[in-house]
């Protein structure tokens, strides 16, 4: 199999560069967007992109990276499922002398390059918005993603940080709706039963749950009195912000994350130097600045 690896490995001697990508979940709209941007950029740069879906399993992700190593790809892009649990993949790739780029979120073992944003920050932005809108006083509900997943942990952490700064903001209840719109809606319905008019704001760790909460609140005729903020800025969420039903969402730049990840991969495959860390900032999306995001 030496010949096979020779065939592929020579990015610099003119042959097509092969990049393997393992994505957290191709059922998540934001990740699909990042991936689409990667594919677009790869196409433009004449790079062959092999994508696999880790289906939120770190184990699967490690295995997929092992497969990439066995296939002797020129570079690996990983959209990590977990901070720690996906780390062995990084170690293995580096040991096999294949550059590995983490996109969107981090692992504890440092990869060749990182392109993305810090999830903790997104929750800080969202919660800060709520705190300011409520003038630092009120009752808040928080919807978690799937418990124990990296994004859930980090978004909770960011939210809690802000809550600590505002002693008069009270977290009435927090509960998981597993990133799901229907579950978010049911949870909100139940919350309305127990807390009713006490609720001042809802922070949902992703847009899907946020939109579910919006629907439940609207049905109960409470939407006008309750602030709902979520994260990701998926098209549905942007539409909801436009309609005014969702008060704010936090935009993560899929286009830049995808494109920059491919850029880094190509450079590394060719043996060129790259930035160790490319941080792409989050942006709060409200009705005021909606215009720039709707275009994108």
């Amino acid at each position: 199999n030496q010949s096979a690896s020779n065939e592929k490995s020579g990015g610099s001697d003119g042959k097509k560069i092969v990049v393997g990508a393992t994505m957290l979940s191709m059922q998540n709209e934001f990740i699909v967007n990042v991936h689409d941007e990667m594919a677009k950029k790869a196409e433009a740069d004449g790079v062959e992109l092999i994508t696999v879906d880790a289906e939120r399993s770190a184990l699967k992700q490690v295995e997929q990276v092992e497969s990439f190593i066995a296939q002797h790809v020129d570079a690996i892009i990983m959209n990590p499922c977990e901070v720690e649990a996906s780390s062995p993949a990084v170690t293995k790739a580096l040991a096999a002398k294949i550059p590995i780029i983490n996109v969107n979120s981090e692992t504890s073992t440092k990869p060749s390059a990182f392109v993305g944003s810090d999830d903790v920050e997104s929750a800080r932005i969202a919660m800060k918005f709520i705190a300011e809108k409520l003038n630092g006083k009120g009752n808040i509900l928080m919807m978690h993603g799937y418990m124990g997943q990296a994004a859930q942990i980090k978004r909770e952490q960011g939210a809690q940080e802000i809550l600590k700064q505002y002693p008069n903001l009270k977290l009435l209840a927090h509960q998981t709706a597993e990133w799901d719109r229907a579950k978010g809606m049911s949870l909100m319905e139940n919350w309305i039963q127990s807390f009713g008019s006490q609720i001042n704001a809802v922070f949902a760790q992703n847009d899907e749950m946020g939109l579910g909460a919006v629907k439940a609140l609207t049905d109960a005729g409470l939407k006008d009195k309750v602030l709902v903020v979520s994260i990701d800025a998926i098209p549905d969420a942007l539409q909801a912000v436009k309609k005014g039903s969702l008060d704010a969402t936090v935009f993560q730049n899929a286009e830049q994350q995808g494109a920059k990840a491919i850029e880094a991969a190509v450079k590394l495959a060719k043996g060129q130097p790259v930035e160790k860390e490319t941080l792409i900032p989050f942006q709060l999306v409200t009705k005021q600045n909606l215009g720039e995001f709707l275009k994108q």
């Binding site: 509960q175 229907a182 039963q193």
Partner: protein
């Protein structure tokens, strides 16, 4: 007639489960003041309805001695199929409904076809089509939710008629139809016969393959109904909708007394099973039990309720 009265009670399912159910409701009424309000009860039933519809279909299948793991994926496929045709100002609302139901019936009939034509166990066939279905939903939707659906479509699963959510009305009608099929038609009788003793059913001249085909198609059709209603309720067709629903639906059926070995089960039992799950889930939210403990409590209560039920049966 004393006998038919007894029978009806038996048909109604299981005292033990009823007792457990009411005990839980009673406890919740004391613990959470908002539990026993019309509004909250309506919310519970609304939330239960999707699972109950799936569970009705699964009950048919399990009674014949089969299993259907694909219902969760059918929810997604049919939701996407419906949403695709449900944008405002395109087709009348009957088109997305029709497309969804058709997709579900076809999917179910395909399950039935493979199961009756090959000797492959239903578990594997429907596990396979579960994966296939999920893939199809993702392909059809390109992995993205399909939103911007017409108001008339969103009304089906999200509206109210005379103050009662449409979901509840549809649940009641479907429950009655399914009950009647099971208890009052030749088809229902044959389901019990096929599940109770397949050889005896065959020796009595019952066409096993026809009964099985119908049963899987019914399950697919009910899953489609659930898929359409879910899509309408959350106003989006989502490729990952319904993931894991199959286990909840099977759980509702089995908690309700349907035996996995076939030949027994009632729609009332299944409805009760679904309601039990829904009440616990609602109650835990109302009591604001933290997520981690919710899972533990949910598991314990379900096992407890069924243990109580089985104790009750054995002393009878």
């Amino acid at each position: 007639m004393e006998n038919s009265y007894k029978e009806r009670l038996r048909g109604l399912g299981k005292y033990g489960l009823f007792i457990a159910f009411f005990a839980i409701c009673l406890t919740l009424t004391f613990l959470a003041p908002t539990f026993l309000t019309v509004q909250n009860l309506m919310i519970i039933v609304t939330q239960v309805s999707i699972n109950a519809l799936l569970a009705f279909g699964v009950t048919f299948v399990i009674i014949t001695g089969g299993i259907d793991l694909s219902v969760g994926s059918i929810v997604a496929v049919t939701g996407i199929a419906a949403a695709t045709f449900a944008h405002p100002d395109t087709y009348p609302v009957i088109v997305p409904i029709g497309m969804g139901l058709l997709a579900g019936l076809a999917f179910g009939a395909f399950n039935g076809f493979i199961i009756t034509r090959s000797k492959v166990p239903p578990f594997i066939v429907t596990l396979g089509t579960m994966t296939v279905g999920r893939g199809l939903a993702l392909i059809l939707s390109k992995g993205r939710p399909i939103s911007n659906l017409s108001d008339s479509f969103n009304f089906i699963g999200g509206g109210k008629i005379l103050g009662v959510p449409t979901l509840i009305l549809i649940l009641i009608v479907t429950f009655i139809i399914c009950s009647v099929i099971l208890r009052k038609t030749v088809l229902g009788r044959y389901m019990y016969a096929v599940g109770g003793n397949e050889q005896a059913a065959r020796a009595s001249g019952i066409q096993l393959s026809t009964v099985k085909m119908v049963v899987y198609a019914l399950s697919g059709g009910l899953a489609a109904l659930a898929g359409i209603l879910l899509t309408s309720r959350i106003t989006t067709g989502q490729p990952n909708a319904g993931a894991g629903f199959e286990l909840d639906a099977i759980a509702a059926a089995i908690i309700g007394g349907t035996s996995t070995s076939g030949g027994t089960g009632t729609m009332t039992g299944t409805l009760l099973g679904a309601l039990l799950i829904g009440v616990i889930s609602n109650g835990l939210d109302l009591l604001n039990v933290t997520s981690y403990y919710q899972q533990v409590v949910m598991g314990v209560i379900i096992i407890g309720a069924v243990v109580l039920d089985s104790l009750n049966q054995s002393t009878r």
